[in-house]
């Protein structure tokens, strides 16, 4: 089996994220009851809630550099989303370490963190605040975000009335507008229509040219092959393969296809 073949060291690009033997552990209780009452009852009955540990990611040593588009592939439950959360800084590794830049733009699901009761415009301001942008930055950027999302009059309507494609448009426009150093995307391009898919693809490419790093999770192997410069194959929380997207995808097809 091919173990993370080192990338060709032709042009050493600046490393943006570095994982060192990182692991993430979840703990499950088989009769998990998140109440005080439940826990007291368990104490009383002498039954100790049998907790089971589960390593969603184990011993990950990976580096991500500027200008890369890295696809994360792997079967369901292989740890792709957990890795994305780790890169986004939503969780910290239970063991090992991670170095990551402060400003990471993460779309952990296609629709981001939009608040259904707010309009597109209001969501834009909430997004800016949640991501620590300056107040003035969003004021200045709003017209171009509105234009890119192409939502028309819906930009001022509560987001809960949007279709999933429209939500994805808004979320992607927000996530990419401020030229993040790192963009993390979970199955984004599967939602928008073809027109918007193309548009987002071009924007992604532009980010890369400017030296950003893009990490995409996708089950769409064709997309990974065509859009990514590199792919990482995860299975059971471990890296099975890491290298040129075409090779990794071919290997994936052979193993799981």
């Amino acid at each position: 089996m091919k173990q993370s073949a080192a990338k060709p060291a032709a042009k050493p690009a600046e490393k943006l994220i570095r994982l060192e033997a990182a692991g993430v552990k979840y703990r499950f209780m088989t009769d998990r009851d998140l109440t005080l009452r439940g826990r007291l009852a368990r104490l009383g009955s002498g039954r100790n809630g049998t907790s089971r540990e589960f390593w969603a990611l184990k011993g990950l040593t990976l580096e991500f550099s500027r200008g890369e588009v890295v696809g994360l592939a792997g079967p369901n439950g292989s740890g792709k989303s957990t890795l994305l959360r780790l890169l986004a800084g939503v969780i910290d590794p239970s063991e090992g370490s991670i170095e990551r830049p402060v400003r990471v733009s993460a779309l952990l699901e296609p629709t981001g963190v939009l608040n259904g009761n707010l309009s597109g415009r209001q969501n834009a301001f909430l997004y800016a605040a949640l991501n620590g942008l300056e107040r003035g930055e969003m004021d200045a950027a709003l017209p171009r975000i509105e234009e890119f999302a192409e939502l028309g009059a819906f930009f001022d309507v509560a987001v809960r009335t949007y279709s999933s494609g429209m939500l994805a448009r808004l979320a992607f426009s927000l996530a990419t507008h401020f030229k993040p150093e790192v963009l993390l995307v979970d199955e984004l391009l599967s939602v928008g229509d073809e027109h918007f898919q193309k548009k987002s693809y071009f924007r992604m490419m532009k980010l890369i040219e400017k030296g950003s790093l893009v990490v995409v999770v996708s089950h769409h192997l064709g997309f990974l092959e065509s859009a990514c410069s590199r792919a990482v194959l995860l299975a059971g929380g471990e890296v099975m393969d890491d290298g040129p997207a075409a090779r990794v995808v071919a290997g994936y097809r052979k193993r799981f296809g």
């Binding site: 998140l34 009452r37 605040a129 949640l130 620590g132």
Partner: protein, 258 residues
């Protein structure tokens, strides 16, 4: 703890934005919405004053002022705690999807109810001449009273928010506890009506320290004694410290429980 505070200071915009969103949802952007938010406490104050002043034979206007100036800070404390308990669980959507300063969420709950409390106090001041109650110079200390109370409530809010993440029934427990605690605190009744045997224990209730800071200046026109300020200060710092330190220690674990 210091980092926690620095993060709060740095996320002022987030704080204001979340507050705006929540106010918008609570008051529904209408003037009438504000009236609804204030109608319930006003009705409570009116009916309690009518019932309890006639029960105790205490003059209605005087009782009303006494009850009002204790009930506003109490409601601030009660509503903030309950609201904060929901703040992390209710916003799990954000907490599990972006890396954000999580302590902002319970603090927004405190600020939101703080606005209600300030509005309540303003109404009390407007009503005082109608009730024949004089304004006192000592009432100028109320901003300090409010600040100390807010600090204590912020500490409690951070504790409640965490507790509800780890024990989802905490909120119901809290609700019952607050209900009972209300009757054990001198809001409806006056401490000097307490039998002398109970006096020493009465002081153990931390709510007393804060209620005094409002009741003494508003009803009696007395500046609270130094001991009262000290006691409230000690409680406020202890609660703020306890809330902040545990929050800093636990916040990495929230994700796994949400």
């Amino acid at each position: 703890m210091m980092r926690l505070w620095k993060e709060v200071a740095a996320s002022r915009d987030l704080f204001i934005e979340l507050l705006k969103v929540q106010m918008d949802q609570r008051y529904n952007g209408s003037a009438l919405g504000v009236i609804w938010a204030l109608a319930m406490p006003l009705l409570t104050i009116l009916s309690f004053s009518l019932i309890f002043s006639s029960l105790s034979g205490w003059n209605l206007a005087d009782y009303g002022v006494y009850f009002f100036c204790g009930y506003v800070p109490w409601t601030f404390f009660q509503a903030s705690s309950l609201h904060a308990a929901e703040s992390l669980v209710g916003n799990a959507f954000y907490v599990t999807r972006i890396s954000m300063p999580k302590q902002v969420l319970p603090l927004v709950a405190v600020a939101l109810n703080g606005i209600d409390a300030v509005a309540g106090m303003v109404i009390l001041f407007a009503l005082m001449p109608l009730l024949g109650a004089p304004y006192h110079l000592s009432m100028l200390c109320l901003p300090a009273s409010a600040l100390l109370t807010a600090a204590a409530v912020a500490g409690v809010a951070m504790l409640c928010a965490q507790a509800n993440v780890f024990f989802r029934d905490f909120r119901y427990l809290l609700n019952s506890a607050l209900f009972l605690w209300f009757f054990f605190s001198p809001v409806l009744w006056r401490p000097d009506t307490l039998s002398p045997a109970l006096r020493p224990f009465y002081r153990l209730n931390p709510a007393v320290a804060f209620l005094e800071l409002f009741q003494l200046p508003v009803r009696l026109g007395i500046l609270p004694p130094v001991e009262a300020w000290l006691l409230a200060g000690v409680w406020a710092s202890a609660l703020l410290l306890a809330g902040g330190l545990t929050f800093a220690a636990n916040q990495k674990r929230f994700y796994y429980y949400l």
